[in-house]
């Protein structure tokens, strides 16, 4: 006991508490975590409870595949909105994904420190700019530009994709940056030592090693794009037709909900919640795909 004489002695109760501390703290944390999670569960249940009955009443197949959305007449079909959401999200993913990932790679790999300290906060700042401001600038600047130079009404898939792409950029970038930074420096040094250029190293080592984080970034960015409402309402045009070109106006699931929720009553309102259910399911499917892709790839990698 000679060596530990400097360490203060604990009372038996204190010692017992020390021993059981993990258990106590763990259960407290569990309670907090459960409350957070139950909040998320409750809101999910709320959406389904409000939306599912009307969906079953109309018929899920018909609700999803019909193009007739005439709530006043009791016709509820959201096929055009589903296509609209997918089109806009895909466009946003192309623009925001490329931009966001590009920014993240520049920030972590090719950027002197002083430039990082300017670039990173400015990109994070983009996240703070309200979606209404994005939408507003989209309407005032982007839409007339598209209308004059490319034709069409201006309110279009293209306009929404650009606006959403820019809006999801900060999400994609900041999470990608974290993922890229988590790659051990040794990987990079090792690759460079083997004669690879900096870009080759980035491409073949760093991007691969951080893949799961990058996928998470894309998912969260995509989630932001699919779920964005206000900006999309302003620049998408919200027609009831399936868009036939990137210059065609489009209505997304979210804008369908947000446009009409303020006035809807009865079945109409329930149908809007059902739109929310469909949205939830679409996001679920997207996430599942992304997850399995990233998981399968990493498994194949580790197996090789």
């Amino acid at each position: 006991m000679r060596a530990s004489q400097g360490m203060p002695k604990r009372s038996p109760l204190g010692a017992w508490l020390d021993r059981k501390q993990d258990l106590f703290i763990s259960s407290i944390l569990l309670v907090v975590a459960l409350s957070a999670i139950s909040g998320l569960v409750v809101i999910t249940a709320f959406i389904f409870k409000e939306g599912l009955p009307i969906m079953l009443q109309v018929g899920v197949g018909k609700f999803v595949s019909s193009s007739d959305w005439y709530p006043a007449e009791g016709h509820f079909g959201i096929f055009p909105m589903i296509m609209g959401s997918l089109a806009v999200t895909a466009g946003a993913l192309v623009i925001g994904g490329v931009l966001g990932l590009g920014c993240a790679v520049v920030l972590t790999q090719f950027c002197p420190r002083w430039a990082v300290s300017i670039l990173k906060p400015s990109i994070e700042l983009l996240a703070g700019i309200p979606s209404v401001v994005y939408g507003f600038i989209g309407v005032v600047i982007l839409v007339p530009m598209i209308r004059v130079h490319l034709g069409g009404p201006g309110l279009s898939v293209l306009a929404s994709s650009i606006v959403l792409g820019i809006m999801m950029l900060p999400t994609v970038t900041s999470i990608s940056v974290d993922a890229l930074q988590a790659v051990p420096k040794a990987y990079r040094d090792g690759s460079i030592a083997l004669g690879a250029t900096h870009w080759q190293t980035t491409r073949m080592v760093i991007l691969k090693a951080s893949r799961s984080g990058l996928v998470a970034a894309m998912i969260l960015g995509m989630g932001r794009a699919v779920g964005e409402t206000m900006a999309v309402i302003m620049v998408a045009g919200n027609t009831l037709d399936v868009p036939d070109s990137i210059l065609a106006p489009v209505r997304t699931l979210t804008s369908n909900i947000a446009l009409e929720m303020g006035y809807a009553a009865g079945d109409h309102r329930k149908a809007l919640f059902a739109t929310g259910v469909v949205l939830f399911v679409i996001i679920m499917i997207l996430n599942t795909i992304a997850l399995t892709v990233s998981r399968r790839r990493s498994r194949r990698k580790s197996g090789a």
Binding site: A3, S4, G6, M7, R10
Partner: protein, 278 residues
């Protein structure tokens, strides 16, 4: 197996009386007694039937080829393995006669008494001073002077004090690799542990840093029970009183270092020491 153990005890006692001049106290009863210890993770069996005594104020070197269970054994001695959810074990490890796997044991206290130094230096993302006081603070020491004193003595013991005494507030990352490892040693010493577990502490270091660490350990041996896992048989020969040879999860043999290195009883031991495999 038991009889072999008993035999070894005898040998050890004899041996210990020979090396008594290294030890401040005479080798009393074993500090750590390991009996029939089996361990593994999930389905994988890592250690089989290890029985071993570790005596106070002696340095025990554990050698053997990779995958032999040396590190698992070491990490069992301060229950770090228990952090793995699929860790399982049987048999007993007694520290001063107390079973460290008993349910009423304060694990944190065990880990304070049995300090560990890792193969690579792992400075916590704190300043040097905070790194060193991390353990003592957790143990409840708040007194500023006492902490300062601990920092100084442990840094001196790790032969690092002169190099860092003016930069204690700097992030520990700024130190060189060898300095980091000595800081990690000092960090363990600041806990005033009874047993020191060293997991290939010099594997990543240059010869000069290695020499400094070994010097530090040499000064410490009079005060601490040391268990040293190493791949470097020369280091084992230099820096230990006793040596145990682990192979494929089993302890093949254990005895005074001089005996193991000159006249091992098992063919596999001599094969390993002479570099025929591993």
């Amino acid at each position: 197996m038991m009889s072999a153990n008993n035999e070894m005890h005898k040998v050890d006692h004899i041996r210990c009386s020979h090396v008594g001049e290294h030890c401040a106290t005479s080798p009393g009863p074993a500090k750590i007694v390991v009996r029939d210890f089996h361990a593994g993770f999930g389905e994988t069996q890592v250690l089989r039937n290890v029985s071993l005594d570790i005596y106070p104020c002696q340095r025990l070197a554990i050698i053997g080829p990779a995958g032999g269970g040396k590190t698992t054994f070491l990490r069992s001695l301060n229950r770090l393995n228990s952090l793995e959810h699929d860790f399982r074990h049987s048999g007993s490890i007694l520290l001063d006669g107390q079973d460290i796997f008993a349910s009423n044991v304060d694990v944190a206290r065990i880990r304070r008494r049995v300090g560990m130094l890792y193969a690579v230096p792992i400075p916590l993302p704190l300043s040097i001073y905070e790194n060193l006081t991390y353990g003592p603070r957790l143990a409840g020491i708040r007194d500023r002077h006492r902490l300062d004193e601990l920092v100084e003595t442990s840094l001196k013991s790790a032969i690092l004090w002169d190099e860092v005494k003016d930069r204690l507030r700097e992030p520990a990352h700024n130190l060189s690799g060898g300095q980091q490892q000595r800081m990690c040693l000092a960090r363990v010493l600041a806990l005033e542990p009874e047993v020191l577990l060293l997991d290939e502490p010099c594997s990543g270091l240059d010869p000069i840093s290695t020499a400094k660490i070994e010097d530090a350990l040499d000064e410490l041996k009079s005060r601490y029970t040391v268990v040293l896992v190493t791949n470097n048989t020369k280091q084992a020969a230099r820096a230990s009183e006793r040596t145990a040879f682990f192979l494929m999860g089993e302890m093949i043999e254990c005895g005074p270092t001089a005996v193991i290195f000159t006249n091992p009883r098992h063919g596999r031991t001599s094969d390993y020491i002479t570099g025929h495999f591993g």
